[in-house]
Amino acid sequence: MSRALIVRRAGPGLTLQDRGRPGYMGFGLSPGGAADRLALAEGAALLGQDDGLAALEMAGMGGEFEAESDMRIALTGAPMRAAIDGTRVAWHASHALPAGARLTIGGAEAGSYGYLHVGGGFGGDVRLGSRSVHVASGLGQAVESGARLEIGEETAPAEVNRLLPVAPRFEGGTVRVVPSLQTDFFDADQIERFETTRFKRDARGSRMGVRLDFDGEGFHSDAGLSVLSEVVVPGDIQITGDGAPFVLLGECQTTGGYPRIASVLPCDLPTVVQATPGTALRFRFVTLEEAVEAERRAAAHRNGLRSALTPLVRDPHNIRDLLAYQLISGATAGRELEET
């Protein structure tokens, strides 16, 4: 019997996302996948399952959902107001969603992209090795009101009410970049100004990239706009015709003619992704060695997420259907911390 989550009301920009489609750059298709990749790992840790499963990405706001059967959920990424049958539930946490229960998720309180994960992961068509919608290429489509989202079989121990302490990445800040193949098209003054300028995330932006706003004159490269189209990767910071930086994200084009001043470290990209319009961002160059070390530490952090989980302390007065919950923890195989 198939299990499913019914979408009673879909906010704008709901899409199923997993780790995307690496391997198709040579065919002109960028990897796409969850805009905030760390949120995908956090949801997987909360539910004790593989981080390759698809989650529902919510751009700015959620929607209203109904469980067709008993299931587990986890909420990660940009914190949004969430309630189960009217009772507020914690973000960065896992919860039971019993059959018939209504989950309502409102607007983001900080950050841009929130994620709803389910135990077993969302099903849906796998195309070119992924369930991710690639909006820019018209590959797949957004989830709309009335949709019935199929859910895979649970393979993990069915634990819920876990909380994951999350370091803030929803308020902008300093983002580390490395010099890339066109950085030397910009002279030392331009580079220095780029590092000392306080940028603000512009309202213009999508899963392809975000434009940055700032005071002062535009940036320009000595090579002008006559450079040959060359490889573009997510994280690249393009200087467009009007002199404003544009940070490219997972659904960016795969080649481009605008010169790129720097490239954001993959582990710092969630900070750019989650910045809301008006949020301040600064860029700091690091060496390639420092960048690799930062990536190494980020990978270790992702691998250690499961051991960072804490029990979610809830006030029993707020739990309406107290008896429906399993209150004894530890009723699992007890091996989940060893499993990676």
Binding site: P22, G23, L29, S229, V233, T254, T255, P266
Partner: protein, 253 residues
């Protein structure tokens, strides 16, 4: 040809060049401007790279004159991969390489001008031709897929006659339709998705370059030869239901 000779000499001095792309990529470039030898070198080098499969490489691609490698820098250091790439660069004269095997020649029916492709006159004028001369010039040139990029399955095609060395327009066209043929800098782009562009829209085809549901989702391959055959609007409309838009291919090698 003396032109090619100059390009080769230039290439010998500074190129090929290996540079990093972001944190987890490297790029082997065979020049800083488009030339036939540099394009062939990039295609052949990537094919050799795929065969050699150096440790840690996760993905490769080509742009017009470069081969790109993505790898996991946490598992393989930059110096090691660079040494592997350098050894492969030294292996032969890549500028002498043949075009890829398994190439095809495509004939793609195209409506030039009309309201379907409204910038034909403007592009022809920029190239110093009448609209009729422009249609003849483009449709009689067998162009080659130099790379696939920007959008899924989307080819950069060239090279057109020198008259077509016209710049991109200053302002962007807000939306160019799927199947649009556009021109700039002696190249054509056949658009696989509807997108903004700075290239001028001179022809319209019914050719679907990206078919996510099909066994072969990306139809064209680098090295393929293409001719854009002028057809009437009536014939174009009649072929609407064909995903190839009436296009036909034959094997070249």
């Amino acid at each position: 040809m003396s032109d090619t000779g100059t390009e080769r000499q230039e290439a010998a001095s500074d190129w090929p060049k290996i540079r990093t792309v972001g944190v987890d990529g490297m790029l082997v470039s065979f020049g800083d401007r488009l030339s036939e030898p540099a394009n062939r070198a990039a295609l052949a080098f990537r094919a050799a790279l795929d065969r050699a499969a150096p440790e840690g490489v996760e993905e490769t691609s080509t742009s017009l004159v470069s081969a790109y490698v993505r790898f996991n820098p946490v598992h393989r250091d930059h110096a090691g991969l660079r040494a592997d790439l350098d050894a492969l660069v030294q292996e032969r004269d890549w500028y002498e390489a043949d075009l890829p095997q398994g190439r095809r020649e495509w004939r793609i029916p195209t409506v030039f001008g009309t309201d379907l492709a409204p910038q034909l006159d403007e592009a022809a004028e920029a190239a110093g031709m009448t609209a009729e001369e422009a249609i003849a010039s483009i449709s009689e040139t067998v162009v080659r897929v130099q790379t696939i990029g920007f959008a899924p399955g989307q080819p950069y095609l060239g090279e057109l006659a020198p008259e077509w060395d016209i710049p991109r327009q200053k302002a962007l066209t807000e939306r160019i339709p799927e199947g649009a043929l556009a021109v700039a800098i002696r190249q054509l782009v056949l658009f696989s998705v509807s997108t903004p562009t700075g290239w001028r829209h001179v022809g319209q085809t019914g050719f679907r370059l990206f078919r996510p549901e099909a066994e072969t989702p990306f139809v064209l391959r680098p090295g393929d030869a293409v001719r854009f055959e002028p057809v009437s609007r009536e014939r174009f409309e009649a072929m609407k239901d064909d995903p190839d838009g009436g296009a036909r291919a034959k094997e070249l090698t």
